[in-house]
């Protein structure tokens, strides 16, 4: 089966020369139709830039190279006019902040109707109106007519996020990209919105690319996880395996630093130092300055992702491939 979305060697660079910020430095990933891929990382790791590069949202502000294939179509070289048609019909985006994504002066119904109109999804006012109400109902809004007539400020954060999701799925996209869609929401609302996204994914057979900093969200969604650090994937594999048994020293450190409820209290393990700022670069592995396992060679060149066994897992750490050291690590 061919992939719904296949990304190879994606690089995104802002600016040029000495001031160039290399936010994404070679990402490869693939999502099967209906599949889930979670990009997990902390601020500045390049996960959102990856999502926006896929959507081609940077225009001339950034240099994006590599390949982004949506089905059989290459998006990187696609003409802007054509790309605009792809976004909203074949690619949907759920942004982090629903308040910023909506026009504060217009009703929800009008904003949703606009998407339908622009993409020619529902010709005619009456048909459009019906489609708006149907979409709002499909994202779990109990009284679509009232919400359609409301301005964003009249709705709660959870309702606004549902409305934005309705906009994202209006064109029944093949791939839904969700950029921290629940970060601004309370946990009970977050739980409902995650449930909704998963439900829509099953109903429409959409592939989902979820960008998050929240390990819990990654664990909950399952699928494949890619852990990002300083613009690169440092560990990938089936989410539940990676999160239960992380191999890369960064993933291990990140998971160890989370408070685990119900387990004896005490010092949390920490990763010394701080994550590099977006685009901050050195020559070797970006994690080496904070890494407990770093050896001299780590500082020379960034390690590639190397498969760990046959289970679809990979990590970018040469030390792990060193048998004796790896054994010691696992024990």
């Amino acid at each position: 089966m061919s992939a719904a979305l296949r990304i190879s060697d994606l690089h995104t660079t802002f600016g040029s020369g000495d001031g160039a910020v290399r936010a994404v430095r070679g990402i490869d990933l693939e999502i099967a139709p209906g599949g889930t891929y979670v990009l997990l990382g902390e601020s500045g790791s390049g996960k959102s830039v990856t999502a926006r590069s896929i959507l081609g949202l940077y225009g001339p502000a950034a240099k994006v190279t590599g390949s982004v294939c949506l089905g059989a179509d290459e998006l990187i070289t696609m003409a802007p006019r054509q790309l605009r048609q792809v976004r909203g019909t074949r690619l949907g985006l759920v942004p982090q902040d629903p308040t910023g994504a909506l026009d504060p002066l217009r009703g929800i119904g009008a904003q949703l109707g606009e998407v339908l109109a622009v993409h020619g999804l529902a010709p005619g006012r009456a048909q459009r109106r019906a489609a708006v109400l149907r979409l709002l109902a499909s994202v779990g809004i109990a009284d679509p007519a009232r919400v359609a007539a409301s301005r964003p400020h009249q709705l709660s954060g959870g309702m606004r996020q549902r409305a934005v999701i309705a906009i994202a799925i209006a064109g029944e996209p093949e791939v839904l990209i969700a950029d921290e869609p629940t970060t601004a929401l309370d946990v009970t609302v977050q739980a409902a919105v995650l449930g909704l996204i998963r439900d829509l994914q099953t109903r429409h057979g959409m592939a989902l690319l979820m960008v998050t900093h929240d390990v819990g969200v990654a664990e909950e969604l399952g699928g494949t996880v890619g852990v990002m650090y300083a613009g690169r994937l440092v560990e990938t594999g089936p989410a539940r395996e990676v999160l239960r048994d992380p191999r890369h020293p960064y993933t291990r450190g990140l998971l160890a630093s989370l408070p685990v409820p119900g387990v004896a209290r005490g010092e949390l393990r920490v990763i010394p130092g701080r994550p590099p700022l977006t685009g901050e670069s050195g020559t070797g592995c970006a994690f080496a300055p904070r890494c407990p396992l770093a050896v001299a060679s780590c500082r020379h060149r960034p390690p590639p992702l190397v498969a760990l066994g046959a289970g679809g897992r990979a990590a970018a750490c040469p030390v792990l491939n060193d048998e004796p050291v790896a054994k010691e690590l696992v024990s």
């Binding site: 946990v187 739980a191 909704l196 909950e220 630093s257 989370l258 408070p259 409820p261 949390l268 393990r269």
Partner: protein
Amino acid sequence: MSTRPLLDAQDLTKTFRGGVRAVSGVSLTLAAGETLGIVGESGCGKSTTAKMLLRLLTPDSGSVQFDGADVHRLRGRALRELRRRLQVVPQNPQTSLNPRLRLADSIAFNMRAHGYGAATRARRIPELLDRVGLDPSYARRYPHQLSGGQLQRVAIARALATEPEVVVCDEAVSALDKSVQAQVLNLLADLQLELGIAYLFISHDLAVVEHISDRVAVMYLGRVVEQGPARALWDDPRHPYTATLLSSVPGLGRERIVLAGELPNPADPPSGCGFRTRCPCAVDACATTWPNLTVRAPDHVAACVHPDPRRPANANAGAGTGTGANAGAGAGAGKS
């Protein structure tokens, strides 16, 4: 904890213009050297409560005592002394530190306000920075030159500068990356051990609150609905709202309890228990009065008509806190 609590708030109520009842009848105590966590979702009144404890807002009724003195009646020198002993670490260090002051000056500002002389300031500021894990050379830097985690350390140093006995942390680690958040949580714990500071730790992150707190209070719609030892509350919640909150934390594999509807309008709350309109175990009696907090276990109180909400009297809802039989799948509880 047999002695008088250091901070003792009784029956705090605050209604804002427009009839929004942000806090009603909240009572909390904090003993020296302990940590009380407050959790709840946006709009539940946790920050309003904190502001009344800090005397940044005047309650409509109720009282706050700090070391035996009524916080809202203090004036002059005694009020200043209260402010010295009761400090705050706000949520966002980017906005709470003056961008035009060097970090040393931000810390010195707080110290000068409490009468610390120039010599003491010059000696203490490098010590404080060192204590929160920053190189003393940072004293000369400006906020924009530091990362979020570093700035939060400065905000902690500034709060510690006046040798407080209570520090209110209002979402103090929420804006930080997880790997940095752990560093700051450890720092807060170390400082408590060394200096015996008591924390009032407000957060929406249940795992963080459970980790750092001795006791936890859960708020909903302006009231405390459950309060108890952190571990007991986590393992054995006695209010259906607490159970719902815990079940909503992603990735733990607890059986999900999905809430119906939205948070009621605080200006027009439902009759009786404020949670009844969304509660999986609501019965007719819930519509009459908001139940008082009653003792459920040692040091553990909850405000619910059900003696044990996990097994409601008329078990029509079937939404108890499962033991995770449905672990991982999580979606079993139906869609909203």
